[in-house]
Symmetry: C2
Subunit: 147 residues, 2 copies
DNA sequence: CTTGAAGCTCTAGTTACTGTAGATATTAGG
DNA sequence: CCTAATATCTACAGTAACTAGAGCTTCAAG
């Protein structure tokens, strides 16, 4: 009876785009599903679970590589939770340093904007600030791929 | 006397990589410099200024497109500062919404991690949280290219 | 049985670079 | 002046994580 789910149904159920699902299959995050006689993909419920997991983790800013790790860990229920925690903790660290950097950036932008109201470009503080490297707040511009 | 600066010197002076400078030239952010007989680029001091501007703005998270706008505006000193302000203000708005989203993400990650200490994957709360879409905090996952 | 939506594969484009290969140029030391 | 080391040149490929399109086939409804 249960005929299986078309890729479009899975897309609607999870909020992913059809192409994204195919892309995830291509890079090995999703297993290759059964195909109909006409070569169309047919999924079962478990695909929705796995894809929801991926999508939610992406929304939380995990990279596809981190998600690949998480999926591998979760596929083995005897695995120690500590490994999963480690991935999440590392991600939390990244998020926190990112917040800190954005906040210092926010301060600098606000300062720029309050100093410069009206006037001509020739005296624009925004451009001054951007030109003057010595005013730079942060030297950290290395950042992981996530988010 | 002043023979002009090699690309390597400019790179060291600004903290950019040599390839990055050539890339910026290729996409029209930097003008084509004079060349030596041997076809090597020779810059003057003004190139360092322009490149520092670009680099600093990048560090502050402006996209190359925004920087292109800013450079065009700053190249005409009669321009109204308001246009420059508008670019900076829009960027500030983006930064602030990004901070807000990261903070809610931070809360969710912390909650995940405090709920799950030790144990096996089969009962791991991190994986539970990531699997359960209904717990999702934020629905905003559209974001501009900058930073 | 027809028609239109949905699916298929494959390719190229996005952003902002980074890295490599293989050839040429410049500079410093002897 | 010659050589060796370093720097630069062009051109192309690769990165992350998709997105969009061309041109074709399949499916479901009426």
């Amino acid at each position: 009876m249960a005929r299986g789910l078309s890729i479009g149904r899975v897309a609607r159920a999870t909020g992913c785009k059809v192409q994204t699902i195919r892309y995830y299959e291509g890079i090995g995050l999703l297993p290759q599903p059964h195909r109909t006689n006409g070569n169309q993909r047919q999924y079962d419920e478990s695909a929705i679970g796995r894809l929801s997991f991926i999508r939610h983790a992406r929304e939380l800013g995990f990279s596809l590589e981190a998600i690949r790790d998480l999926l591998a860990l979760s596929d083995d229920p005897d695995n120690s939770c500590a490994d999963v925690d480690r991935v999440a903790q590392r991600h939390l660290d990244q998020v926190e340093s990112r917040i800190a950097r954005l906040q210092s950036l926010q301060r600098e932008l606000k300062r720029m904007l309050t100093q410069c109201r009206g006037g001509k470009v020739a005296t624009c503080k925004v451009i001054d600030v951007l030109s003057d490297h010595s005013l730079c707040v942060s030297d950290d511009h290395r950042e992981g791929p996530s988010l």
